[in-house]
């Protein structure tokens, strides 16, 4: 942990109700109206629930883009996506659209957002606008549990390791780069990242800056273990990837218009399920800047 860093001070909830949705992670929050500005106490409680459950969900939040942005800004600086353009009027809000005829769904691989950046996004907020009648759920995996369930020997072996994460290489398990993948997504507005760094080396075992807990930190951006050849990395990474997505580590969220999910990229991987071909799905997304490089 960096010098002077304080862990979160957990206190009982007074305003909100927090209901777990699965054994591993995830909770629905009731008792908060996010269209109104948040008091400090309310924000604290929500942030605590976020740390305890790693991904939190709100229902029936009918937020205008301005309200969504105002809420998001309480969490930190807004992170702009290097590869995607936002809404014209609100460039900080990314509109993720899959039309009836598109085939590619954004985010349909296990990953943590922007692992390829030197200071990856701390959390991501997703608001449901138009949802298919069925399908389009999102799965989340608890990376603390993934680490904690390894043997002591395995933990010791992985501790010193780092991995290279890349923003536009061929994704693990696929063989197309971004431009090739997005050609099946008519609604996505690609842009050139320009000078932003899109390849970064991060530890495979990451310490959470607020909870101090250790979690596995890898995803589909992870190319290979730093200092190893891709061939040497393959078996170990393949094992860890499989391990991280054990059903026991996962929760699954079904969307409705007005549903809001906020997940912690520092200790969660997520997966957008692409099972609603022929239906339209539209979401608004805001990502919050990471404050530090992973350690």
């Amino acid at each position: 942990m960096p010098e002077g860093r304080q862990l979160w001070n957990f206190r009982p909830y007074e305003t909100i109700e927090v209901a777990r949705i699965a054994g591993a992670l995830g909770a629905e929050i009731t008792g908060a109206d996010l269209t109104k500005p948040l008091t400090d106490d309310l924000y604290s409680e929500i942030y605590q629930a976020f740390l305890e459950n790693q991904v939190i969900f709100f229902r029936d939040q009918d937020l205008t883009p301005e309200q969504f942005l105002a809420f998001a800004k309480r969490w930190g600086g807004i992170h702009l996506h290097p590869y995607m353009k936002g809404l014209d009027e609100h460039p900080e809000i990314l509109e993720l659209i899959k039309t009836e005829t598109d085939t590619y769904a954004f985010g349909s691989s296990w990953h943590s957002d922007q692992m390829f950046a030197p200071k990856p996004a701390k959390c991501t907020m997703l608001l449901g606008r138009e949802i298919p009648p069925a399908g389009g759920d999102t799965m989340f995996a608890n990376m603390y549990l993934a680490y904690e369930t390894l043997s002591d020997g395995m933990k010791a072996m992985l501790r010193p390791l780092k991995a290279l994460n890349a923003g536009d290489k061929k994704r693990a398990g696929g063989d197309r780069n971004r431009a090739e993948r997005y050609s099946g997504a008519s609604g996505m507005k690609l842009k050139d990242p320009g000078n932003i760094q899109t390849e970064s080396v991060h530890p495979i075992v990451r310490t959470h800056p607020d909870t101090g807990r250790l979690g596995l930190y890898l995803g589909s951006h992870t190319q290979h273990i730093d200092g190893f050849t891709p061939e040497e990395s393959g078996p170990i990474l393949a094992y860890l990837r499989e391990h991280c997505r054990r059903p026991e580590f996962i929760c699954r969220f079904r969307w409705a218009p007005g549903s809001l999910a906020i997940w912690d990229n520092r200790c969660v991987q997520h997966y957008a399920i692409n099972d609603y071909q022929g239906h339209r799905r539209r979401m608004h997304r805001i990502t919050i800047k990471g404050e530090e490089a992973p350690f």
Binding site: L150, S151, D152, G153, M154, A156, M157, P160, L161, I225, D226, G227, F228, T229, E232, G234, P235, I236, A238, Y239
Partner: protein, 294 residues
């Protein structure tokens, strides 16, 4: 440049023996030697050639069991196999026989001898009495090369690992005795397992006590890494085993009656090729005691 792939510890020429490397990675045939009569100076050169080449081969030797044993004792004390009985009249010599009707052979996996012992045999020598007309070669793999060819990152990660090696790993769910009783029981009749199975933990990266070089000390007795579950170990174990047998690290020896091979279990694996069904093969083996791997 030409010495790139050899383990040269000494650049002085050989005077009493001729040393002919058989492949890029390892292995050399030694010529001009009668193993039943060796003076100390010749033996010293042989020992040097052995350290430099990991495995050395002699051809056309005629050794009685006593002469064979006398040669073996120059290398150290005799190591007895914990699971297999020696010859009735010469218990320090272990007969390896595959008859015309048997289907399984002994040593048919990439391994280093007795890696499951707390002090595995440092050397093994094999002397051919009868060999098939074609087939029954032995392949060897250089574990120094296997180690050196890994990336620095991988070497670093492996440096902390230890292996858990089992005396009866039960391949395919079968114990030694069960495995050897395939179409005949010559080897099964020699199985004499100890009261308790012998298993040992050793460093994965082993430093050779004489050359000081590091080797990837892994073989088919290696069940998993110490402190990791079997499941966690498997991808890496499998990767390292396949890596260790890359053709570039190997040599292959074709036997004739009177051939003798002597290999260093601290830095090479070997594999007995089972491709001569219907023919008989009869070898005599002696292993030399080693020390605790570090």
């Amino acid at each position: 440049m030409s010495q790139l792939l050899r383990n040269s510890t000494d650049t002085a020429p050989y005077e009493r023996i001729t040393v002919k490397p058989v492949a890029g990675a390892m292995g050399a045939e030694i010529e001009g030697v009668d193993l039943s009569q060796l003076d100390d100076a010749t033996f010293a050169e042989i020992h040097r050639a052995w350290l430099e080449n990991n495995v050395i081969f002699f051809r056309g030797q005629t050794l009685t069991p006593q002469q064979y044993l006398r040669f073996a004792k120059r290398w150290g004390d005799i190591h007895l196999h914990p699971y297999m009985k020696g010859m009735a009249d010469n218990p320090e010599i272990f007969e390896i026989i595959k008859t015309e009707t048997e289907t399984k052979n002994f040593g048919n996996r990439w391994h280093t001898d007795q890696q499951f012992c707390p002090e595995p045999a440092k050397a093994t020598m094999l002397y051919a009495i009868e060999v098939p007309a074609a087939g029954g070669d032995t392949m060897y793999s250089n574990l120094y090369r296997a180690y050196e060819s890994l990336s620095d990152g991988m070497k670093q990660m492996l440096s902390g690992l230890k292996t858990y090696n089992m005396g009866d790993r039960k391949y395919g769910g079968k114990s030694r005795a069960e495995r050897y009783s395939g179409g005949g029981d010559t080897m099964a009749g020699r199985v004499a397992p100890p009261r308790e199975d012998m298993n040992s933990v050793h460093p994965l990266i082993r430093t050779h006590p004489e050359t000081g070089r590091k080797a990837l000390y892994i073989g088919s007795h290696t069940d998993r890494f110490d402190g990791l579950t079997k499941e966690e170990s498997e991808p890496l174990r499998k990767f390292l085993m396949q890596h260790a047998r890359r053709p570039e690290f190997t040599c292959r020896f074709r036997w004739q009656p009177g051939s003798l091979a002597l290999w260093d279990n601290r830095c090479c694996q070997h594999y007995a090729v089972n491709d001569y069904h219907g023919q008989r093969r009869h070898m005599l083996r002696i292993t030399i005691k080693g020390d605790t791997p570090f």
